[in-house]
Amino acid sequence: MGKEKIIPIIAIISLLIGISSSIYVYATSPSISSYTEGDKSIIINNQELTIEQIFSDAEIRNIVTPDGINFSGVALDDLITKANVGCPSCHEYKIIAADSYEKTVTWENIQHGVLTEDGTAAFSDLAKTFRVRYVIKIEVV
């Protein structure tokens, strides 16, 4: 098969991958719109808590991320401790977003992290890649 056929075929395959991935993402991540509109709740160590519950009884921390942005929210280590995680420093924590984005962090990172009122997890010791918006779950790994 000549280049005249292969090149357009590869281009079409690339577009099809992009289109099908977009459809898949759209179909499997409907929770972002409901997340921003509805009452937010987050599952931490298998316990479902609303943002109001989380903020009503937790230590507030202010951090500055390495790219110079200020975040104010609930201290993640305080949140984890109150979620009855045994030996918090023995585990890693997977922070999962409504759009399926997830990042696994250490207990040391958690001690530098906050969960904001709009459901963003940010860390003063980690790059922007580790900033997770629309947090729906924190799994103990």
Binding site: A11, S22, T104
Partner: protein
């Protein structure tokens, strides 16, 4: 083509690419536009296509990626400078691989469908490849480390985000290939060298001044 002329060309186009990544890219990221797709589809792939059409040399775009990546290191607006720089270099490498089997005079790319197809392939490949490289390298440089499952679960998002870049590339490459008609070898040395050197130096000076200005603010 004279080797010195080629080296000056690599520095010129690499500097323009690095300049666009650091200066224009920073401002685009603060808008609601798809900054990553525009940066890859218009600037990265556009500049690499123009250089390939003008100089008709393989390997030049990898060199451009190295120059642009080095310039990116001067931008203090990201946590992992080296990761962004390596991602740019990876884009140069991916472009080289995608265009490797084409003839030096790009005779295959006469029809608009062929040009647009190469644009789609190069832009999609560069965007997705660069994104994956960043998602691996940045965590590796951080205390949290890299977890493959974090990347795998996000792959559909990365593949979906590449679609605008592919579409932009499909438009930009046919336009960029119009530069095939320019005879760069015919440009007189006394015009070519001062021009390329001045433009390249200007890009570097602006990026370095911008870095100093931002560091003072921080």
């Amino acid at each position: 083509m004279n080797k010195m002329k080629l080296i000056f060309g690599v520095i010129l186009f690499g500097s323009l690419w690095g300049f666009s990544e650091t200066i224009i890219g920073t401002y685009l990221h603060n808008t609601s536009l798809p900054a990553g797709s525009i940066m890859t589809g218009v600037f990265a792939v556009g500049l690499m296509t123009i250089s390939r059409a003008l100089y008709k040399q393989r390997g030049m775009q990898l060199g451009m990626g190295l120059v642009a990546g080095m310039l990116r290191l001067f931008n203090p607006c990201s946590t992992c400078f080296i990761c962004s720089a390596i991602a740019i270099m990876a884009e140069g490498l991916i472009f080289e691989v995608a265009w490797y089997n084409l003839s030096l005079d790009l005779a295959e790319l006469k029809k608009t469908t062929m040009m647009a197809s190469m644009g789609v392939i190069a832009s999609y490949g560069c965007f997705v490849g660069g994104y994956i490289v960043t998602q691996i390298l940045t965590p590796l440089s951080q205390s949290a480390g890299f977890h493959i499952e974090n990347l795998l679960v996000f792959m559909p998002q990365i593949l979906a985000k590449g679609l605008p870049a592919a579409l932009i590339g499909g438009i930009v490459v046919p336009v960029a290939l119009l530069s095939k008609k320019i005879d760069i070898a015919g440009v007189k040395d006394k015009v070519y060298y001062p021009f390329t050197a001045t433009v390249s130096a200007t890009c570097w000076v602006i990026v370095i001044l911008n870095a100093i200005f931002i560091l003072k603010i921080i």
